[in-house]
Symmetry: C2
Subunit: 514 residues, 2 copies
């Protein structure tokens, strides 16, 4: 399968008119062939015009048509075969097993949204029958359903080149909602994006949908994403990435003549709480499990456990020893991009120079370029409370353990944290009263609370929340993973006193009484 470096504007392929760019193999630092053309305002305008044209047709597809389309995308991705995995490995530095697993997750996600579409539940149908005899005024017949919000701009994320990228959760949920997608490919994996983009386009053609249902723009400039969010035909934005990037898109969206919602998943340090009985009972296994979660995928997960709040006492030293040993044994592994590696190195070095922080362990030294050498640090709670530097996400396998003298201090530290995607409690039966004390604050601060697990590994399911108060996301009321993610791209419409023949099918008497 030849990689062309073209832009996909509906069914057309073209060269972008802006500066070309290359993928990079982070394990060598070498530029990869071919050169990718760079898209700019001209290509944004073309893609968005097509998306706006497609919206009317696409949102009127039947549940079955739309479900089949999502399944077809999944099928076409699998049809790409090993070329997809090989390109993704080369561009991301991630190992084969991880990418094969991620492909399974991506395909499973598309199928889950396909089943959701087919169920029709997402339409959120409501009916208040007329009450013609009501006094003092009769009530009209009111029927409600949800429809897609319009064309959605989706930004591919670097850290999941399949599951949060071209055909990832944002794309799947927007397409499920009936919204055309204009995808901004992440420049860190352009060949992977092109392959998946081709699979989606092929599905559009296979299902005889309007070509504007999906376009994909590639480019390395910051202006490209800004132009896409500013385009008046775009009605919502899905983004996973850095806090700076997400905030920039939020500002652009808020200053449009017609402001639009941005669903940005940005930043989280995912605190883990070690409660005394758990620590006393199984400090060693917690230390090992924690480091396995911390170092997985070079720590490049949104839900990477970057902060541990531990109550000092029996087991604390054993936990630190086990975690320290596990970190020291952790092999260095290639990070996603040279830039991400550079930032990781600078951040961990800055933390190491901090007077209040003790470096406990580093992982195995790098054997090649751009490798993440895991880092584990310790800080006393009073020092943590004195300096907000700890609140910044370090993207990569780096975690800070905060030693707290008691639960009250843990609560105090928790009170100082920003919003988070997840929090994890390591607890035993005897810790229940302590966990109960923490729970209210946790609920107000995070989107997902885990007991005796590890936050990495986000299940794509109906009850999942991958979201949380700012700055974890831009809108704590939403999730970007799981079936609830579809609500980001839906809006309600009410039909009052419609003759049955004019009502949309799902709201007609026959459908409501079925």
């Amino acid at each position: 399968m030849t990689i062309t470096g073209n832009q996909f504007i509906g069914a057309r392929e073209m060269r972008g008119q802006e500066a070309p760019f290359h993928g990079v193999d982070p394990s060598t630092g070498e530029q990869l062939a071919p050169a990718f053309s760079g898209a700019g305002k001209a290509e944004v305008a073309l893609a968005c015009a097509l998306a706006a044209q497609a919206f009317g047709d696409y949102r009127h597809t039947t549940l079955e048509q739309r479900a089949a389309f999502l399944e077809r995308i999944a099928h076409n991705i699998l049809e790409l075969g090993d070329a997809l995995i090989e390109n993704a490995m080369r561009e991301s530095g991630l190992p084969r097993a991880r990418l094969e697993g991620e492909r399974g997750r991506t395909v499973g996600q598309l199928r889950l949204f396909s089943a959701l579409v087919r169920s029709g539940e997402w339409q959120g149908i409501r009916h208040d029958p007329a009450l013609p005899e009501r006094k003092p005024l009769p009530r009209s017949d009111l029927r409600l359903r949800h429809i897609g919000i319009g064309p959605v701009a989706v930004f591919g994320a670097s850290n999941f080149p399949l599951a949060f990228s071209v055909a990832g959760g944002d794309t799947a949920s927007a397409l499920a909602a009936g919204c055309p997608v204009v995808l901004k490919a992440h420049p860190a994996h352009p060949a992977t994006s092109e392959l998946v983009g081709r699979a989606v386009r092929q599905a559009v053609a296979d299902c005889a949908l309007h070509e504007g249902v999906f376009s994909m723009l590639a480019g390395a400039s910051i202006e490209l994403g800004g132009a896409l969010v500013a385009d008046p035909r775009i009605k919502a934005v899905g983004f996973t990435g850095s806090r700076g990037g997400g905030m920039a898109l939020m500002r652009i969206a808020a200053s449009r003549p017609e402001p639009i919602p941005v669903f940005a998943e940005m930043s989280s340090i995912n605190p883990m709480f070690l409660l005394p009985a758990a620590l006393a009972a199984r400090a060693e296994s917690i230390g090992q499990g924690f480091v396995a979660s911390l170092t997985m995928g070079s720590g490049q997960f949104c839900t990477n456990p970057g902060l541990v709040l531990a109550i000092d006492g029996p087991g604390f030293d054993a936990f630190m020893a086990a975690a320290s040993n596990a970190v020291q044994a952790a092999p260095a592994s290639t990070m996603l991009t040279p830039a991400i590696h550079g930032i990781y190195t600078a951040q961990t070095e800055k933390l190491a120079r901090h007077g209040a922080l003790r470096q406990i362990a580093r992982g195995q030294p790098a054997q090649g370029p751009h490798q993440c050498q895991a880092a584990l640090m310790l800080v006393e709670s009073h020092d943590f409370l004195a300096d907000p530097v700890w609140h910044n996400e370090v993207f990569g396998a780096s975690s800070v353990v905060v030693r707290c003298p008691d639960l009250a201090t843990v609560e105090q530290v928790l009170g100082h944290l920003e919003g988070q995607l997840t929090a994890t409690l390591q607890m035993d039966e005897a810790d229940l009263p302590l966990a109960r004390r923490l729970l209210p604050q946790l609920e107000e601060k995070v989107g997902r609370i885990l007991v005796n697990g590890y936050p990495t590994g986000v299940e794509v399911a109906s009850a999942m929340v991958h979201g949380g108060p700012f700055p974890a996301t831009s809108d704590a009321r939403m999730t970007s993973v799981g079936t609830l993610a579809i609500t980001r791209f839906l809006r309600p419409v009410c039909y009052q006193d419609f003759p049955d023949a004019l009502l949309p099918g799902p709201l007609q008497d026959q459908a409501l009484n079925a």
Copy 2:
């Protein structure tokens, strides 16, 4: 019941430290006693601190406690008796029957949200049971519920001194969601606000809730609202008012260190479409019904029909004649405030001077100060398309009829309109094909579509949508009327692998299996 002009900070009453102000009787232009103290940043800080303190307690109330609280507010409002109606009449210029009806609606709305709370449905509970045997990886047990987002700032609206004000839909839905409310009273009806605010506070005390569940600030300065939205403890905003006001709050909210959602209902001209068969069959009754809707409450409704798109042909002249007669017969009526009357007069005079517009009728001349003299104008579709001035809402009984030669022109005009709260089709059986052609565009542009009714009179029900694409509202995905309004103030939390004893009650096995 003495009106004090005090600020209500939780259970405390105090004078605000900013410039005092007075209510005004718009029917005379006279200042009303007493002087109201003006709240500023100091009072905002006190009220928001209390609201933040109250949040934890309040959101943990049982369904029954919270439902009883909402009922108690309704009860206490009724207990205010005629003093409430008299103050509201004096401050708003609205007639008794209208305000008595609005009180009924306000009380009914509180009771509806009470029933919603009791049902528990708003929690949106989801459960994905653990799949320990799943390959390659087991699935954790995942349970989801929604909780309140945190303290909400609610802005009382001028045009519904009861139903969209102190204890209106925003307050009812926020309290139902478990969110404390800091209310900014509208300076146009301060005594009415104080009475209702007192009823709410009394309900807080009656139900032994944390005093911070409700505070009310009054003031005539723009800075007061800005300070409230900027306060870091406020997590969402409900607003009904002008486009300028809503946009200003959106900007403040978006530029906070932690941006928050603003649910602003701002501006709509509510197009009515007159299709040929309906016009041929019953032009006269449509003309009369339209003007009754237009002039109701001096046209001071968000859903006032400010634009009519009519297809020229049999019945058009009869419609215009009937509407003209009805407008001419319409008595002038006092508007809500001298300022609203001033803007209405300036806008209608500006339209009347427009070369392309023909003034068809004016209502009865004013018999006193600040009265709205209804206005009906006619413009040809090509002139309408040439000038965006028509798209601005004129707040008051003023409507423009656009004469269109055919349905294609109607579609073109519709394509140029901004987002709307409502659209209304006047149609008969034979108009069905035309209505079907318009429907897709209508769905994409408005929140509620009516057939053979009139847009004023918004039912508070489960299938109501009082929302719509920008600038009708700031977030087309939401409604500010009806039970769905509660979703604005809720966010999901996921509980992963929780021991049953730590789960919130509604997620425990016993509750899920009930």
